[in-house]
Every structure is written in structure tokens, then in C-alpha cells.
């Protein structure tokens, strides 16, 4: 019973941790789907959104604005920052780079990462800024069944709820709104979309904006978890295996991929890691992803890659 309890605890913890990776991975998926850009800068966008949020929040709280109002205003401010970032990226970098190779676009987003990291820290500071929007303590459920109860972190649950809500909102956005439908059209074939009158640069701006807002959402959760600070950019590296497992183009894939990666790596770390020295979760997620790719080269939910000569 104790063993089962421990296993369940690791499993639940892993699944929830995986959802938090999905929050970051979602931003990748949106941009890749709509513009074919593999956006390495998503981690830096989370950092920028988090910094904008926490610094404006602290600023307003220090000036006596009530907390709830300050939170709303800070969220709005961060959203505006992300909108400006999206517009600049679209206008200055990705617009001129249309039709370049995947690799060039990918490298350009790494360049953007540098700029965002530097600018974010220069404007907002490079210290650790604590953020506490959500409770971070733990529940101990099923106390009667297992000794000491099963540990579930409240923050992780919040993260899961937010991710669920986000996916629902995105689904409605893509299926029900005009912009969302235009987005899907652009994703399918941007030349065809343009020919029926969809303003393609506007659509790309919207995509980056949505990705920026997803980053802001991720920042609220991750900022509460870690404090807003530079290390948040490393989240991009934890989101990549999620992305390959789920497929670059699938929103549900990002969630499922997150669950698989989270559960897989935690179980591997706790049970296998103790045998072979620990610290294996970083590469384990990638090896898991590699294994999935060997069976399905486009990921579990990705669109099939068809090549013609």
C-alpha cells in the first residue's frame, strides 16, 4: 500500500508538472501552426511577460493601489507589453524573413531570444522577483487510504486548471471566431489564404500576440512557482520534448505530450534515477521523445509530413 501510494504520488505530481510544461509548449504550437516558425524565443517571452507583470504589480502595490485592482492593471500592462513585442517581432524580423528556410527562421528566433533576455532584464531588472498569485502549499488527500496521505501541490492543480481553460479558450477562438478561422486558413496554405483576402501580416501579428498571452499565462504560474527571474528562459528546453511527442502542430498534442513527459520523467527520476545516479530527467524526456519519433516521425498528433519531388 505504501509503495502504491508513493507511486501514485509521483504519477500525479508528474502529470501536473507536465501540464506546466504544456503551458509553455502551447505557445510554440500556436506559432508553428500558423507560420511554420519554430519559436525558440517562447521561454524568453515567458520571462518578459513575467517581468512586466511582477514589476508593474510591485510598483502599483507600493503606491497603495488595492491588490485586486493592481493585479488586473498589471495583467493588462503585461498584455500590452506582449502586444508591442509581437508587433515588433512581426514587423522587424519575421515579416522580412518570409519564405526563408526553417533553419534561418529558427536561428532568427534565437536572435530574438537574446534581444528579449537583454531588454527584459535591462528594463525590469535582473533580480528574483517573488510573485504569489496562487497558493503554493500542498493538499494531502486520501489520508485514510495511504499513510500520510497523497501529496498534491495546489499550485500544480491551479496550473492544470489554467491549462485546461486555456485550451478551451483557444479551441473556441480557433473554431468559432472569424480571426481564428482565418488563422487556420493561413496555417493550411498561406498563399491560398492571402488570395481570398485574408490579411496575412495581421494574422501573423495575432498569432504572436496570442502566443505572447499564452506566455503571460505561463508566467503567472511559473512566476509563482519559481519567482520571476532569468532562469525561466530555460523552460523552453523543457517544453521541447513535450512538443515533439505531441507534434508541432497540435494543441491537444501539447497537453498530452506534457502529461507523458511529466509522468515519464518523474517516474524515471524517482525509480530509475536512484539506481543509476540521479539527474536523469532532463535527457530522459528527450530520449522518450526520440523513441516516439522513431515510431511516428511527426509526433503523436502532428500532421503527416508528405514529401513530393
Amino acid at each position: 500500500m505504501v509503495v502504491l501510494g508513493q507511486f501514485l504520488e509521483v504519477l500525479i505530481g508528474g502529470l501536473l508538472a507536465g501540464v506546466l510544461y504544456s503551458l509553455v509548449a502551447l505557445g510554440f504550437v500556436l506559432i508553428f501552426k500558423a507560420s511554420g516558425v519554430f519559436n525558440f524565443a517562447q521561454g524568453a517571452m515567458v520571462l518578459l511577460a513575467g517581468l512586466a507583470l511582477v514589476r508593474s504589480l510591485d510598483f502599483m502595490v507600493a503606491r497603495g493601489i488595492p491588490t485586486w485592482a493592481a493585479i488586473v492593471l498589471a495583467l493588462l500592462f503585461a498584455a500590452v507589453v506582449m502586444a508591442i513585442t509581437a508587433a515588433l517581432i512581426q514587423k522587424l524580423v519575421l515579416g522580412p524573413l518570409v519564405n526563408q528556410s526553417d533553419l534561418s527562421l529558427f536561428m532568427a528566433t534565437i536572435g530574438i531570444t537574446f534581444v528579449l533576455e537583454g531588454a527584459g532584464q535591462m528594463i525590469f531588472g535582473s533580480d528574483v522577483y517573488p510573485l504569489s498569485l496562487f497558493p503554493t502549499d500542498a493538499w494531502f488527500i486520501l489520508d485514510g487510504l495511504f499513510e500520510g496521505g497523497l501529496l498534491v501541490n495546489k499550485l500544480d492543480v491551479w496550473g492544470g486548471l489554467i491549462a485546461g481553460a486555456l485550451v478551451a479558450v483557444l479551441a473556441i477562438f480557433f473554431q468559432r471566431t472569424k480571426t481564428g478561422r482565418a488563422l487556420r486558413a493561413v496555417a493550411d496554405d498561406h498563399a491560398a489564404a492571402e488570395s481570398v483576402g485574408i490579411p496575412i501580416t495581421w494574422i501573423w501579428f495575432v498569432v504572436w500576440l496570442v502566443a505572447g498571452l499564452v506566455a503571460l499565462t505561463a508566467a503567472t504560474v511559473w512566476g509563482t512557482k519559481l519567482g520571476v527571474q532569468f532562469s525561466i528562459v530555460f523552460l523552453a528546453l523543457k517544453a521541447l520534448p513535450v512538443l515533439i511527442i505531441g507534434g508541432f502542430t497540435s494543441v491537444p498534442g501539447a497537453i498530452v505530450g506534457g502529461l507523458i513527459v511529466g509522468a515519464g520523467e518523474k517516474i524515471a527520476e524517482v525509480y530509475l534515477g536512484q539506481q543509476i545516479g540521479g539527474g536523469i530527467e532532463y535527457w530522459f524526456a528527450y530520449v522518450l521523445a526520440l523513441a516516439v519519433l522513431l515510431v511516428r516521425p511527426q509526433g503523436l498528433f502532428g500532421e503527416r509530413i508528405i514529401e513530393r519531388i
Partner: protein, 444 residues
Amino acid sequence: MLRKTLAFATAASAVLSGAGIMLSAGPAMAQNEQFIPRLVYRTGAYAPNGIPFANGAADYITMLNERDGGINGIKLVMEECETGYATDKGVECYERLKGKGPTGAAYFSPLSTGITFALTEKAPGDKIPLLTTGYGRSESRNGAVFAWNFIAVGSYWTAADIAIQHIAKELGGFDKLKGKKISLVYHDSPYGKEPIAALEVRAKLNGFNFKAIPVTHPGVEQKSQWLAIRQDRPDYVLLWGWGVMNSTSIKEAAAVAYPRDKIIGVWWSGAEPDVIPAGDQAKGYKALMLQHGAGQFAVHADIEKNVYAKGQGVGKDTFGQVLYNRGLIDSLIGTEAIRTAQAKFGKKPLTGEEVRWGFENLNLTAARIKELGFEGMLAPIKFSCEDHQGADQGRVHQWDGKEWKIISDFYTADRKILDPMVAEYSAKYAAEKKITPRDCSKEK
């Protein structure tokens, strides 16, 4: 086409003009100045911890210049170089700064175990001492082999030993350690791995079960480590983290309801940036002190009066913090070594080799420490040719949610345990690098 040509021209001219500037910037310094290079990291993943240390170290040197006009009339000139905690960047900074000033760099203080390891290979060739206050290679205490390393005040082995002593005291004696479980959560790098050897020796000696749990750089993801701890239920957890890893550890410990007062951090895990982000969850968390803790002492009043009152100084918002104070001590030891060396070689800018003599003959007595304004922060330190560490003491402090409270007396690390390790590992290093140890009895 025009744009392309323009781009090429911009890039090329940027590189060329930059090269010109870089190379033409020769030593524009006066001949009566002592150059002190400062490797710092004020950006990147470890900036929150790097900034206060760099501030303290810089403010102390500024204070010496403002109050005393340098050391015996020799003005101190410092230049910071940003390493970002990256080894290759640190090596580049070292190469850039080592030759500046009329006599070259007095000493280097890299504040990174990785950079220390790399510079340990280069310093003997350039004859520049490395001052590593409370970090670096533990076996570099042996000055006969590591002629240029000064692991001042304490090594990680000292820290490990003191931590176990403190646990034994809390439990009520060394015999109580038997059968207890102690886990080490460590930053997976040379820094985090250093204490393992000393802890393994102690585990054998005192009969506790020791387990080392690595956390991958930079340490933002520790859920599985702490779930494993929750299942394993060790009696104590030692924390050997740096930067974001520390606060994350405390938060994850809180998340699995591991009592924070059973966690003891090393002195690099026991400062304000480590606990403040964790908020109330850090209450009760303990950490070792590299002798000193937070707070303001006589030297702070001097800095207030001579630096900040004149509108200078860089560390106002970190003033009196643990790492700021450690920066002060780092510069104190370095500058006092210069002062000691000036007594022998004359009041002029000194070379690295002369400063090394100063280090090896540095004797900070209690009276001298009081005179310098460090009373209450630092116990006496005395270096020698054989002993490049100079002190073996440490204390423990605890975070009460607002500030660090000192909760123990001084512990002295057990040299009967550590000295054979220093001898063994430094002999291994000497054999590997084909170094013939100096005969310290012949040095004066």
C-alpha cells in the same frame, strides 16, 4: 543590393573599429596605482546571488580609496568584467585583465568554482594569486602544491564537517548520528560535488546513512528530488545550491511538507536571495555562515560615511546582506594581503608574485580585525606557505521570515579528518600535473 553592401560594411567596420579600440586601449593608468581585477556576474541565471557579492567587494575597495587614499598611498584601481558564471567567458576576462595596470593584476577572485578550476591551470604560469573565499578546490588548502590558490576562510569540506557537527549537536552528540539518514541535495557541478568526499568520510566515521541527490543546472525543476526525499524521509537534508536552485529547493521542501528546520544549507545557500523568493515557506530554514552573517558592523559605518555620503558606491540596496558582507571580506583579505606585501617590498604597486608573499604572510589577529572594523564578522585568520585556508570556523544561522538569526557558536572543523584528505587529493593532483611540491620550510 545596397542593403547587403551596407550590412557587410556595417559588420566589417564594427569589427574593425572595435578591434582598433580594443587594441589601442593600452595601459592609460598612472604608475602609482595597484590594479585589482574583478570577475563578476550581474546578469544571467546566477545574477541575484552574484550582484550583492560584487557590490560588497567593490564598495570596500572604493572605501579604502576614499578614506585612506588606497593602501599606503597607492591608489587601488578596479575593473569589473562580466563572466555570466560561464567558464570560457571567465577565462577570457582573466586574459583581458591579467596584464592591466603598471604591475598587472594583484589577484583574481572569480566567485565560480568552475572558473576557479580553469584558472588554477593558468595562474601559476602568470604568477597571479587566486583568492577564493569559501569556495573552490578544497584540496587547494595545501599551499605546497597549490602555490597560487588561497581558499580563504573555509572550503566545502570545512562546511560539510561543520554541518555534520551542528547536526550532531542538535541531536545531542556524535553517537546519536548512528543510523540516521542524511541526504545532500546538490547543484550538479564541481561546486555541488565537492562536499561529497568529506561527507562520505564522515558517514563512515559516525555511522549515518548518506545519500547524494543531484539537481541539474540551473535547478528550476526539483519535484522528483523532493518527492524522493518525502518517501525516503531523511532526518536531515543538506543543501548545496546556488542561485535559483536554493529558493526552489525551499519551496519544493515546503510543497512536500519537509520541515525547513531540518534543512541546512551551505554558506552559498544561506543569503537573502535564497530565502526571500520563498516567502513564509523559508521560515525556520538554516544555513551555515562563513563565520559572518548579515548585519551592519563598524566597517559598514565607514562605507556609509566615506562612500555613500559622497554619492558613490554600488550596493545601496544590498547593503549589509549576507553576500554583500562576504564581498567585503573577500576584498578585505585581498587588500590586506597587498598591505602585508607592501611591508616587505615597499610602498609601490606590486606584482602578483609579491602579493602572493603577502597572502602567505597575512596574519589577521583579533586586534587587527577590530581595527579594520570587522569585529563580529570574522575570527582571526592566519595564512602560511603550507596552509592557504587560514581558518576552520563557521556558525549556523536561521531565517525567521524577516532576517537571519545566529543560532550557534563557532564550530571548528575537525582537521584530523580533513587534513589527510587534503594531503591525499593534492598529492594526486601533483602527480597528475607533475608538480614538485614546494618545500615550505625553505620559504620565508
